[in-house]
Symmetry: C2
Subunit: 269 residues, 2 copies
């Protein structure tokens, strides 16, 4: 049996990573977990995000994946290193791939980052960027309105457009040549963000970049799938499976089967 | 003492990788070897290229680098796997990074590749691309005129422009949205290649992409340099050190010191 790549997120945002993995690595099998019962993670305390991430990883490990992808910037910011230290399989987050792509692409040396409150407050992008290139200038802004819009499936609406324009009104005045979409939900709003930021700003999707980095890590570990064994991707969610399925099918443009997972100790936020 | 990244090439082409490593990873120390006495590798038999690559790697290992980068597409095509199987430190080539970047960027699914005769004849790019995405369409062409021009330092001359226009006259008619510069010498001719291919073709530099992948691999192995210890890069070449120094300084835009290396059994081609 082909081992899968386990991808987890607070909700539907990580589907942007899943879609790119399916496009860039069509031979790979995916197992996706959206913690839609407890989304969004952005405003939560780090301890809680770490606990939730551990719980999902433990759930997915029963299926023996070959790699774990934390496709949520908030969870990557606070839980990546701890999860990595506990597992023997490779663990990939979504912050370093975006940071590395921005470093490759910037010419001005000033990089913008937008993300959830949790991600921006953690300073994880500044850290990832400056660890590699200490002289880089980073400007960042939290956009708490974006995730709830996407989780409700409202990404192609005038409401979404107004929220993006409003959130980025001041940020768009700052000169920068790269903007990291530092939340895996944001590619759902990419066209609108691009319109607001203008053509001179190169948008870096942590989803696209993470898929590429997954490819790099699998290659260097000798773990790339070599044959197409008619893989069937698996999807799990902790909240309403019908809403999840609707959004996932629209985004992935294919029929999927969703397995609902009910946490034994439910968390109501 | 900070361990260096060893970068080797048939001549000056790998300096495009070195320059990107210096830009994307400014804390890292580099050790560069240009086998200018035996350039170009492109028209040589695989056995000979493997032997030369082994010889350079053995020479560089005395300085205990933390990683070896085969910054030559011809040598990567024929010697990467063998070198990797012999060393315990990570070995990075220049073909897979370019292939992965092209897969990420293409929307049409048709990717162009230009390289030396050796690289194109080896089919290494087709293999790297199709191993990951079997449905991808690859069109390739050898451009044997390019490396000698760059090795002579003639990259900003009317002669270079004429050679590029002539070599790509037919190839530019083929619709493609990505073109991999499948030789580390070609970024020296990038502006001219871009002009000839037109604005719709996204040029993928294996140099830029390899530097980014070096960053990824060092990060995942826990080998990234963490402090700037005022590193001094080292340069070695087997041919005329004055020509090498002139081209390297012009390309890197900084003063360097070159150590000449004379092979004990000289190879005259």
């Amino acid at each position: 049996m082909q081992q899968a790549i386990a991808i987890l997120d607070s909700g539907v945002g990580g589907l942007t990573v899943a879609k790119e993995v399916m496009r860039q690595l069509p031979l790979e099998k995916i197992m996706y977990f959206g913690d839609t019962a407890r989304t969004p993670y952005g405003p939560r305390e780090p301890d809680e995000v770490i606990r939730f991430t551990h719980q999902i990883v433990s759930y997915l490990l029963q299926f023996q994946p070959k790699m774990v992808v934390i496709a949520c910037n908030t969870a990557t910011a606070v839980a990546l290193e701890e999860i990595r230290s506990r597992l023997t399989i490779p663990v990939v987050g979504v912050i370093h791939p975006g940071a590395r792509a921005a470093i490759k692409n910037t010419r001005s040396g000033r990089i913008g980052v937008i993300g959830t409150e949790g991600t921006i407050k953690s300073g994880a992008y500044e850290l990832a960027l400056r660890q590699i290139t200490p002289h880089i200038e980073v400007v960042s802004q939290a956009c708490p309105a974006f995730v709830p819009l996407v989780e409700k499936g409202l990404f192609h609406t005038p409401e979404a457009h107004a929220a993006v324009a409003q959130s980025l009104r001041q940020f768009q005045q700052i000169p920068m040549d790269c903007l990291i979409l530092g939340c895996t939900h944001y590619p759902f709003l990419r066209d609108t963000i691009a319109e607001v930021m203008g053509p001179k700003v190169n948008l870096i999707s942590s989803a696209d970049e993470t898929a590429r980095e997954i490819s790099t890590v699998l290659y260097h570990k000798g773990l790339l799938a070599t044959t197409n064994s008619m893989q069937v991707h698996q999807f799990f969610c902790s909240g309403d499976p019908w809403i999840f399925k609707k959004i996932a099918q629209e985004w992935l443009n294919e029929e999927i089967k969703v397995t609902p997972v009910v946490w034994q100790v439910p968390h109501i936020s």
